[in-house]
Symmetry: C2
């Protein structure tokens, strides 16, 4: 009993704004059942970065997240822009949000934020040996505080569920599993 993809019968956009694009699809299941309203949220590729300074500290950001209504400590993260690779976008976001750049970069993991609703993926990079080469360049609707943590502090926060967002917790767990 192999699981098959569903068939797309029709598609219509409900909403297209810079931060929310919602589509309604009409789908047919393999047994013929019609799903009349399946909602898909279209987003650009997301990126986040486990950035480690040349003296071994982990570069994090603190900001207010209005979906959850809390101030959170997070990995530097953002959206890839048109014409950028995921790596380009990650380097740009790191520099804009923190003023840090350089170091050795590698891709750690690619995950889905929500495979049932979102059409996008989230790329997580490790950047080792980053250094402060400039200053923060924030949009008018960004309010971000840069914070440095030791490896042990970050591991404790992760264990206590204080790195709340799953797209950030998963790559951090993978990083610590690969670098015990």
């Amino acid at each position: 009993m192999e699981i098959k993809k569903w068939k797309l019968l029709g598609s219509e956009y409900l909403f297209r704004r810079p931060w929310l694009t919602a589509r309604r699809d009409r789908l047919q299941l393999p047994d013929g059942t019609i799903h009349p309203e399946y909602y898909v949220l279209e987003y650009p590729t997301w990126v986040n970065i486990i950035a480690i300074t040349s003296d071994g500290q982990f570069l994090m950001v603190e900001q207010y997240r209005h979906g959850l209504g809390e101030v959170l400590t997070e990995l530097v993260a953002g959206c890839v822009e048109d014409g950028e690779t995921a790596l380009d976008g990650a380097k740009r976001e790191l520099f804009e949000e923190t003023g840090y750049a350089g170091g050795q970069w590698e891709l750690l993991t690619v995950l889905s934020p929500n495979a049932s609703a979102n059409n996008n993926l989230s790329y997580s990079f490790i950047a080792t040996g980053v250094e402060k080469t400039g200053t923060q360049h924030l949009d008018s609707t960004e309010d971000i505080r840069v914070r440095l943590f030791t490896r042990d502090e970050l591991k404790d926060m992760l264990m206590r569920d204080e790195i709340k967002q799953a797209t950030m917790a998963a790559p951090l767990w993978k990083y610590f599993a690969l670098n015990p």
Copy 2:
């Protein structure tokens, strides 16, 4: 420079359907800047389960995920219904999707699927010693195949990013970190 919450100036619903509720908020940042359209997606609490059978196999489900457009192997997951606790919802979803029940249950982690856009949290439970006591009871728009994996198989899949959804990868990494 402490990061503060933003002030809600107004709120309006754009869309309210069983699988998509979207709200537009008007917000004021601490420096006075107005964010005229901040979109929040309202969802019920989500749950997923690391379910381990009495002979030590990991109970997973395979299904088509139309957001990403792929057939994925996942933890059993679902939404908490009105009047249920997260634990009630997790036990109900496990039984409906697989026919397995019983065992010892504990909460492993609580994460945000997307702290900037989603208002909900995802609760992950460990259920040890579950047994097949019934049959699958699926909705007409569910097409789910139950699969059992050994611990090593699942760990390899996780390492290869084959457990694609971040809300499922993060608790699995935490489980393997706590149970090496």
